[in-house]
């Protein structure tokens, strides 16, 4: 299945080693993939919390590992911006 992943703000700078920087990219994932697994694949290197959104809804950190991604989902990762 295909999902679209978007990295907002400076989120792409958190990407793990060996992952090419991107802002917006389609990923081919196996059925049943969870948001937690996607986050592991991207390997974000950060101690600071960030926000995960699936199709416009916020997904709280405690359920990331049990939230299954569906074909066509739009996943957005948002860095911890504090104002402006």
């Amino acid at each position: 299945m295909q999902v679209n992943v978007k990295l907002l703000g400076w989120m792409r700078e958190f990407l793990g080693d060996g992952i090419a920087h991107f802002d917006d990219k389609d990923f081919e994932l196996a059925e049943g993939h969870t948001l937690g697994e996607l986050i592991n694949t991207l390997g974000f290197r950060t101690e600071t919390p960030f926000m995960t959104m699936q199709n416009g809804d916020r997904v709280v950190d405690s359920v990331l590992d049990t939230t299954v991604i569906k074909d066509g989902d739009k996943i957005v990762f948002v860095p911890p911006l504090k104002g402006g």
Binding site: L8, G9, W10, M51, G56, P79, L81, K82
Partner: protein
Amino acid sequence: MGWQKKILRVNLTAGTCTHEPLNMAWAQQYLGSRGLATKYLMEEIDPKVDPLSPDNKLVIATGPLTGTIASTGGRWTAVTKGALTGAIASSNSGGQFGGELKMAGYDLIIFEGRSSQPVYLYIQDDDAQLLSADGLWGRSVWEIEPAIKQRHNDPLIRIASIGQAGEYGCRYACIVNDLHRAAGRSGVGTVMGSKNLKAIAVRGTKGVKLHDPAKFFAAAKIATAALASNKGRKGMTSDGTIAMMDVTGAFGALPTRNNQQVQFEGAHKLNAKAMKSPNENGHTNLIQNGACFSCTIGCGRISHIDPQHFSVKDKPQYQKASGGLEYETAYALGSAVGVDDMDAATYAGFLCNEYGMDPISFGGSLAAAMELYQVGAITKAETGGVDLVWGNAEALCLMAELTGKGEGFGRDIGMGSKRLTEKYGRPELSMAVKGQEFAAYDGRAMQGMGLGYATSNRGACHLRANPYASDFTTTETKDKPEVVRTTQDLIAAIDASGLCLFTAHSGGTPEHYATQLDGACEGGWDVARLNETGERIWNLERQFNLAAGLTAKDDTLPKRILEEPAPSGVAKGLVSQLKVMLPEYYKQRGWSEDGKPTAATLERLGMS
């Protein structure tokens, strides 16, 4: 020290400038800038005064860290009774002016009375004089800054001034310094204009003495290093505040078309990436970042408009580099009015700086006018033939010019959204608190921000509380009163110190502020004292508002935010839970149920 321990009192009616010692007991209680200026205002005017009468005063204030090497130590504040709100107005700005004023030897300038003729104040260290503004009055900020420098043959003079908006009485005129930095909100420039005061031009060469220089420099080094390595700071430097556009857009907290929507389909044309990317003509809006005095963050944007863009095609003077879009202006001159044209928004922002008006309130007022037009409460007969439909970039640019100059329908927009919507019989269409237009966050997706808007002493404002981390985590309201209350206090203290509150978004901590203050100022400053000082300032501002006639009824939000569910985003279906949060907020503040500080609270804060 840190303080210069000197005030300049300018009586505009009598035409006199006199020096006075700073009241150090008040300085120890209210620190400086926003806090100390409010104390002087509270003691010297009747808060019930008409903001535009000669009996109102205007205080221009620096903080003890203004003019030092503490990172961002260049901030200054204009404090008065607000022309837009009738509440305490306290508008903070950066640039170079604040540092220069402090170097000239002053903590505060107090303007009182009204000059019979337009004048400007010229300060060279101890020497301060009122000079005729002949040849300056009627001209824009961009025209008079070089003119004053030329008149005194000194390119290093720093200037804070009003444009035509402040002269004619636009209710949200600001005081602009260094061409594109502004004490923007609540109509402080309107008050300055009502006093026939065109500009403050200052040259300072004295430096700032510190209480314990070694301690201060050690603390400043640590604080600056913390900013240097912080991810948030790096984002502020590279993308500026406009990075927020993507976040609120995705979240559903981006006020769009007068808060009828909370997500904007054109946000991607107004974001940090768009600002850095070449357009179809190969022109890139952003040139570089910019920084205020002593700032190591540099969140400012320096932009230029595509010379082929309709707004500047035959106007070479607007094709040059100037202060570009920040998140707030991109919202107010973009999503708020449904415009997705970055260059048009940049041009409207240039005009706001040039004529001296607050872009947030201008955009909010234009958005209200566009909704009045949408519902048929006004037509082309009122707008002077302008088709005020959402997204009309030409109308945005034209209205910015007319409002700046006070011509045609621009004069109505210059009244602010509250007076404008009342005039046309639809007051519910004003997205404002205490008469001041919303900033760039919707109070339904961001429940804490909604509470922050409602309780902000100067009217709706995003710079009075810091609920971002909480709001981007949950719409649950349980913790919001505490988050809003504690950050309101901390921000009041940061503002009073002379530092920029964006340090708090960039790795700055209360320890950093307290240790730098402790090095700069006598009296012993730690985090507990810092927070208590912030709380004292907050309560003083509240007392000013209560004495001015405001009540708990003014701590509210527009009907739209309280009753119309958010149409999309994380808060889809939600309205603001203000009614649940507000009583708890009052309780935690130590205020009565009708929002008045209790005797015990005032006593605890040493204010009784």
